[in-house]
Subunit: 309 residues, 2 copies
């Protein structure tokens, strides 16, 4: 995902990917709806393309078939042999790269909104690559201004997500919602966020400039695993005082886990962090009870109205 | 599951099954804990036996491998050939029948507490076979009196659950908790319920009689599926006014679904019902958005202290 220059061309090729994880139903079902009725993705200057990213995982209502699609957009995967009996997500990553990329090329789509749900109490989390991505940061600022829900920005610094295939992109992570469940409130929030994101691009395309602004955003400072027995079995769970407290400060000495024995485990770091993805179902297998974040404030330069395309 | 007579023998063989559905983590993790440290299952007159009912499903964190174990305790399944490459849950059902049954025999365990979670907002739901099961109804009454959480009784009328293997039993269904997630609050509620259930049996075994009482309980009046396209795809979701309203009255004309188009669907029954399992993840594949219940009040006779065993 490359930074858009402060004065770029209008964005005509926009995609909305859902079902990158097949059991995150808001994105799965919204994309299926837009495939039947695309009117919600149409704006004056463009019409976004809905893409069901992992149809087989969506069909089975699982996160993935063979490997996490949203960690599969590496050069190694995209250039590998992909025989029909090979890992399903390798074939899907290559198909998406053909459809919306190729990654890093001039032919790639201008922007991808990638839709996700989490079991964590994260409200709306906007997942961008870096504060240096001026265009995406302006989308975030616009969503924060117009969203009905708390809307925080996570800068992942990575380059292996679905949204890395296009020239620019943003992940929309909305929760809490159990995987395999479609909740009205969460799905409505995701729909509203996406609508405002499309509105922003439409305003930009029509010649709107956006002034410089300051924004709070969070960057990863490592992850913390559950207390486990040597064989990997859970010896406890997220402490009730930490559960659902995503993005709130966690100070050294605060309780983070409770063992089945009743014993409490306290945070031993030397600085305040801001945990996210607290008790996310999909991260148990990754050895992650929560991800520690550092809080930053960034000054984002103005975004000039686009030049000629 | 047969009704215990008002004056029965003491109960010495009690089992606690968890992980009957492998992604319902409160039961999975509590049973694993009790297998390491069974002290929480010991009482003066007995020690309950912890059983991980579906270890392979728990290992993979899925509801089941080949078929729903908690619908597998039929005569057909229990007496069928079960080759090593046959359905895993058939073998598990037969193994549990050997361990805790055989179902319907004098050798069967006296009582099974079977631990479940739901994504629905059902708080603690006690699942018994029938109001004629006087012993189980007294367990329910005792739990309602001592539980910290709303604690309602669902009379399923079925005979194919894990708990049907023993002479008597009760399902403890606690939510809301996403499948694949272990929440402190939900797990603590389940642990407390089970502890009170064991206490009740211990009091009974020690010679306590329990007086007659009235109890409110719910019986099934059918299920309602999501609005779907001819191919089965969801056209909408549980209405925000119904979501999380388990066990509350649903009147004719109340909204039950919202379509992606914005259209609302209203309940067309001719009487008030009490929906449960609203938006339960595991029931999408069963074609069930919620189960309609009728509310009854039953007079339960006194339970005499046990006779000689």
């Amino acid at each position: 995902m490359s930074s858009a220059p402060p004065r770029g061309p209008p964005l005509s090729r926009v995609a909305v990917t859902g079902g990158t994880h097949g059991n995150e139903l808001s994105g799965v079902c919204l994309v299926k709806h837009w495939l039947r009725d695309p009117s919600g993705l149409q704006r004056r200057t463009f019409a976004a393309t809905p893409v069901l990213a992992n149809p087989e995982a969506a069909e089975r209502c699982v996160r993935y078939i063979n490997q996490d699609l949203n960690r599969s957009f590496t050069a190694a995967v995209l250039t590998s042999e992909a025989p029909p009996d090979g890992p399903y997500e390798v074939r899907r990553a290559q198909a998406i790269d053909q459809l919306l990329g190729p990654k890093g090329s001039a032919r790639a789509f201008d922007f991808i909104f990638d839709l996700h749900n989490t079991t964590s109490n994260m409200a709306a989390c906007l997942i961008a690559s870096s504060e240096e991505n001026v265009f995406a940061m302006h989308v975030c600022g616009y969503l924060q201004k117009h969203s009905r829900v708390p809307c925080r920005v996570y800068l992942h610094g990575g380059d292996i997500f679905v949204s890395s295939v296009s020239k620019n992109g943003l992940g929309l992570e909305v929760g809490p919602q159990p995987h395999g469940v479609l909740r009205a409130d969460i799905t409505s929030q995701m729909r509203s966020l996406l609508a405002h994101g499309l509105d922003f691009i439409d305003l930009f395309n029509q010649g709107t400039s956006f002034p410089a602004f300051d924004i709070v955003a969070y960057k990863t400072a490592g992850s913390v695993d559950f207390p486990r027995a040597p064989g990997g079995e859970l010896l406890g769970f997220v402490h009730p005082k930490l559960q659902d407290k995503d993005f709130l400060p966690l100070k050294p000495g605060d309780p983070i886990f409770q063992l089945f024995s009743g014993e409490e485990i306290f945070y031993e770091g030397d600085a305040t962090v801001y945990p996210i993805f607290i008790n996310e179902a999909a991260y148990y297998e990754k050895g992650t009870a929560f991800i520690k974040m550092e809080k930053h404030t960034f000054s984002i330069p103005a975004l000039e109205a686009p030049g000629p395309s």
